[in-house]
């Protein structure tokens, strides 16, 4: 399968990428690692007329200690997140979840900014950064703005990014000794999760988000409220799908997904509490 024809331009910096997108209008798309966009283009589910290749904007590939959080450049690849000593020490949930994205070949190309901007509810790292309370930084023609992960995901493959904005940085709070767990249920090793759960707990505080349980990654607020109200893990996990609106597909019915969410949230909270 070959994508429909398009014009290709390569940006050397974020500023250049943003002016190229502005110049080419709504039909232009950013190309980072290409492991979400190119499969869509090969299936003709996406047909941008211009690709602005940001894959060589290497100054947006970094993982930095920024005090209370770790700042990750949008073009940082999954493999670099998985292998980062800093993330393994300060945000181990994210490093661990990155190891579960696709397979090694995919992780050599795919980027954190790419998977977040793509906003696929079945992807691992949008939900993981949502559970962690990350902040995303977007740059547009009028400068930069911060978007809370909780405000970012607006619908299926739809985010708060404007057409002329580019995701430049992901800021993930340090976990400071929190217990954590990432549960991914699938049938084949490299697949998307049928249902996944990213969770952390520290004293009375917690964060839980669900993969592939609706049109967007889902923050399981009822679970975390129940926990802060003193509920047991079993009782809190019963609330797993309260915010979710899962769909049926070849792999799972709505009922099965709802059941899986409860089971996986229970497993995740148990592991995060041990």
């Amino acid at each position: 399968m070959i994508p429909a024809a398009f014009e290709y331009v390569r940006a050397g910096s974020a500023d250049e990428a943003i002016s190229l997108i502005a110049e080419h209008g709504d039909e232009a798309k950013f190309l980072a690692g290409g492991h979400s966009l190119l499969p869509l283009m090969k299936l003709r589910l996406a047909q941008p007329t211009v690709l602005v290749d940001i894959g060589r904007v290497t100054d947006l590939s970094y993982i930095r200690d920024a005090g209370d959080h770790v700042a990750i450049g949008a073009l940082t690849r999954h493999m670099d997140i998985e292998n980062s000593d800093l993330l393994q020490a300060e945000v181990p949930l994210l490093a661990h979840a990155a190891h579960h994205v696709g397979d090694p070949q995919v992780r050599h190309r795919g980027t954190l900014g790419g998977t977040i901007a793509h906003a696929d509810p079945a992807s691992d790292l949008p939900a993981t950064t949502l559970a962690l309370g990350a902040t995303y930084v977007a740059q547009g023609p009028n400068g930069t703005r911060e978007i809370a992960a909780g405000d970012f995901y607006q619908g299926f493959l739809t985010s708060a990014l404007a057409a002329d904005e580019m995701l430049t940085e992901i800021r993930v709070p340090k976990m400071q000794g929190a217990g954590w767990s990432f549960q991914k249920f699938n049938r084949r090793a490299q697949d998307w999760a049928i249902v996944g759960v990213a969770a952390w707990r520290r004293n009375g505080d917690s964060g839980v988000a669900l993969v592939n349980m609706g049109d967007t990654p889902v923050l399981a607020s009822s679970v975390t409220s129940a926990l802060s109200g003193g509920a047991s893990i079993e009782d809190a996990a019963e609330q797993a799908a309260a915010e979710a609106s899962p769909q049926a597909d070849l792999n799972a019915s709505v009922e099965y997904r709802t059941h899986l969410a409860k089971v996986l949230v229970k497993r995740a909270l148990t592991e995060a509490s041990s």
Binding site: M1, I2, P3, A4, A5, F6, E7, Y8, R10, L31, G34, H35, L38, P39, K42, L51, D53, G55, M79, G102, D103, P104, Q105, V106, H108, R109, A189, Q190
Partner: protein, 152 residues
């Protein structure tokens, strides 16, 4: 668009349409057909090759993205005198193939794996090859081959 790509140490310069896939460029423009096309959806790994020393699936990379980069394909692994790469030799010694279709991709993924983890456990080999499918289901000998190449 004119691109220049170094493949197995030789620089190839030519004009490609931006939508040309890297695997299509290597097979049809450069004429190196050792890299196979399997699923064409970045699932099966048959098209794996090394881009700047790391395994990638060349059905999901554009040729223009490889402009100015270094590529190694299965044809570039053996020495010039024909001596097989230790991974190729290990696949031969351990009969790490049945029909052979997935083999170039398996070998390229396995050499990339050992570069990142020179001393893997059997589990790490299996997980490290999760992006490569063998439809003969000949995984046992493939895993043995990779462990043998790692000196185990």
């Amino acid at each position: 668009m004119e691109i220049s790509v170094t493949i197995n140490g030789v620089t190839h310069t030519g004009d490609v349409e931006p939508r040309t896939l890297l695997v299509q460029y290597i097979r049809e423009h450069v004429g190196l057909t050792g890299t196979n096309i399997g699923c064409d959806t970045s699932s099966c790994g048959a098209c794996s090759l090394h881009l700047n020393g790391e395994a990638v699936k060349s059905c999901t990379v554009l040729a223009v993205q490889a402009d100015g980069q270094e590529i190694t394909t299965i044809e570039g692994l053996a020495s010039e005198d024909g001596t097989l790469h230790p991974m190729q030799q290990a696949f031969q010694d351990n009969h790490g193939l049945q029909c052979g279709y997935c083999t170039p991709g398996m070998v390229m993924a396995a050499t990339s794996l050992l570069k990142e983890n020179p001393n893997p456990t059997e589990d790490e080999v299996r997980i490290g090859l999760e992006g490569n499918l063998c439809r003969c289901t000949g995984y046992h000998n493939i895993v043995q081959s990779v462990l043998a190449a790692a000196g185990k």
